[in-house]
């Protein structure tokens, strides 16, 4: 105690603290410089996105936001030098195939996620599944198309169903991982409470874990859908394309926005090029809509 007292600076000898800001100090300069660099890179990183949106609006918007927009959104694709037309069948085709893909990947994905997050998270099967699922997120989308081509198309031909199956292969890992993460976020104490009330394990999952994790699960599903809606490679091998309205889910090729964009963008006709731009804009708007929905449901409500 006494030793310490002797070491203390006498108040009169203590210099007055200098608290004013010194802009030219190396420390302050470095701070300003690095902050500026992060700003610059943030802006540069968003340039491609904004330029794409600008280009889509500029070149696709003229056709889409004109008086003829109903025709664009509903009519069949024009042939050769024909004027007018639209891509109604492609919008329907894309939505139908995404729906089929969701109908397959959501139940499978949810069941797998329940196993991974609640039933036996540490088992060897769970670890293997998790590793494979993570690998699958980087699965080349064209291989999903080739895979479904081999198992379905060679026997039954091109169809919306085959396209949906190919998209589901790509959606599945996203759904599994997002749903697992969402259900893992459900606190153990909440599960304990449910067991303490006399819930069976099934009831703990259906009454507590799934409802509590629902916003996160839905976000994952929406993001998977948004991703699948923009895919083109897997559809080349499975749904192909059609110039007519979708009538049957199997036995006939089906149109999709992404393949229509691919087809029309290579054509020498102004009308088709314009429609390709408009279709691109519609596709981006669809993806954007799913993303916005995902953000809305994903926001936790208290």
């Amino acid at each position: 105690m006494d030793d310490n007292a002797q070491n203390l600076i006498v108040d009169s000898a203590r210099p007055t603290p200098q608290l004013s800001r010194k802009m030219m100090e190396p420390r302050a300069l470095r701070n300003t410089l690095l902050t500026g660099i992060t700003w610059a890179f943030a802006i540069i990183a968003s340039i491609p996105l904004f330029s794409v949106i600008y280009m889509l609006l500029a070149r696709g918007g003229s056709r889409l936001f004109s008086s003829g927009f109903v025709e664009v959104l509903t009519a069949l694709p024009p042939a050769g030098l024909q004027q007018g037309g639209g891509f109604g069948n492609a919008i329907v085709g894309t939505l139908v195939m995404v729906l089929i893909a969701s109908a397959i990947s959501v139940p499978f994905g949810l069941m797998a996620a329940v196993y991974l997050s609640v039933l036996d998270p540490q088992s060897r099967l769970a670890r293997a599944t998790r590793l494979l699922t993570k690998t699958m997120t980087g699965f080349p989308s064209i291989l999903a198309g080739v895979f479904v081509y081999a198992i379905l198309v060679t026997s039954f031909g091109y169809s919306a169903l085959a396209g949906g199956v190919a998209l589901s292969v790509l959606m599945l890992p996203t759904v599994v991982l997002a749903a697992e993460e969402a259900m893992r976020q459900v606190p153990q104490k909440m599960k304990d409470a449910a067991y303490g009330m006399g819930c069976t394990r099934t009831q703990v999952v259906t009454k507590v874990v799934l409802p509590t994790g629902l916003p996160g699960i839905l976000t994952g599903i929406m993001l998977a859908i948004a991703g699948a809606a923009g895919e083109s490679a897997p559809l080349l091998f499975t749904a192909l394309f059609s110039n007519y309205h979708l009538e049957h889910l199997s036995g006939e090729p089906a149109a999709s926005l992404s393949i229509l964009i691919y087809n029309f963008s290579g054509m020498p006709f102004a009308n088709q090029l314009e429609l390709a731009w408009a279709a691109s804009l519609v596709l981006v708007l669809i993806v954007l809509a799913f993303n916005i929905v995902a953000r809305l449901i994903g926001t936790p409500k208290i």
């Binding site: 304990d192 449910a194 303490g196 006399g198 819930c199 509590t212 208290i302």
Partner: protein, 276 residues
Amino acid sequence: MSALQEKSQVFVAEPFQPESDTVIDCAVNKIYYGDFLAVRDSVVPIEKKKITGFIGPSGCGKSTVLRSLNRMNDLIDIFRFEGSVMYHGQDIYAKKVDPVVVRRYIGMVFQQPNPFSMSIYDNVAFGLRLNKYKGNMDERVETALKHAALWKEVKDKLKNSGLSLSGGQQQRLCIARAVATEPDVLLMDEPCSALDPIATRMVEELMLQLKENYTLALVTHNMQQATRVADTTAFFSVDISQGGRTGYLVEMGPTQQVFEAPRESLTKDYISGQFS
């Protein structure tokens, strides 16, 4: 010192013979987590419509014993129970007994308030719906919230999330949820340790009201809390003599006797704040 404490023999508490009826007669022989012997030789009778307090230092196994009373420990894979827990003449550890059903009769309130992420109303109605209750749900929810002394604070916001309440209110909501199904016994595992003194006071008053209708068993770190609410107190301690950390019952009796005239020197040291 009445018990045998010769070096060759392990200490076993003198059995407590309660004067009133018991609901649960718990006789722990040994409780293991894997190879680890967590609790040994503890006979703990739980008296009907009274509050039985479990006190003792950390790691003495008081929570483990409490959670054994409704088979909550079964959720831990490596848990192994040797002994018997007689409840209305049936051993709840018998092979034919379904632990899920046991938990519907013997409810539990946890250390951390753990309402479900749903409305206040749905939280309370949860157990009733689980048991397929057919009567007037609104009435039962209201009664349960009144029993838990929470009704006045939440009656205008039953649709709000249970998670929007304060910690003390959440814990009372959890008590309301537990009593809504009118369980026979309510196990409380340090229900006030996450609460401030005012909320603690309210939950303690609530426990005293609840014992008119329910049998309560309470684990607490707070000895004053045991003296305030418990009718009977069980004091557990940790035995580190054999290299492990095995908990065991040291003494059990009416709270006043345990605190004012403890039979064992270990009890006396603990309640007077002299830890060995």
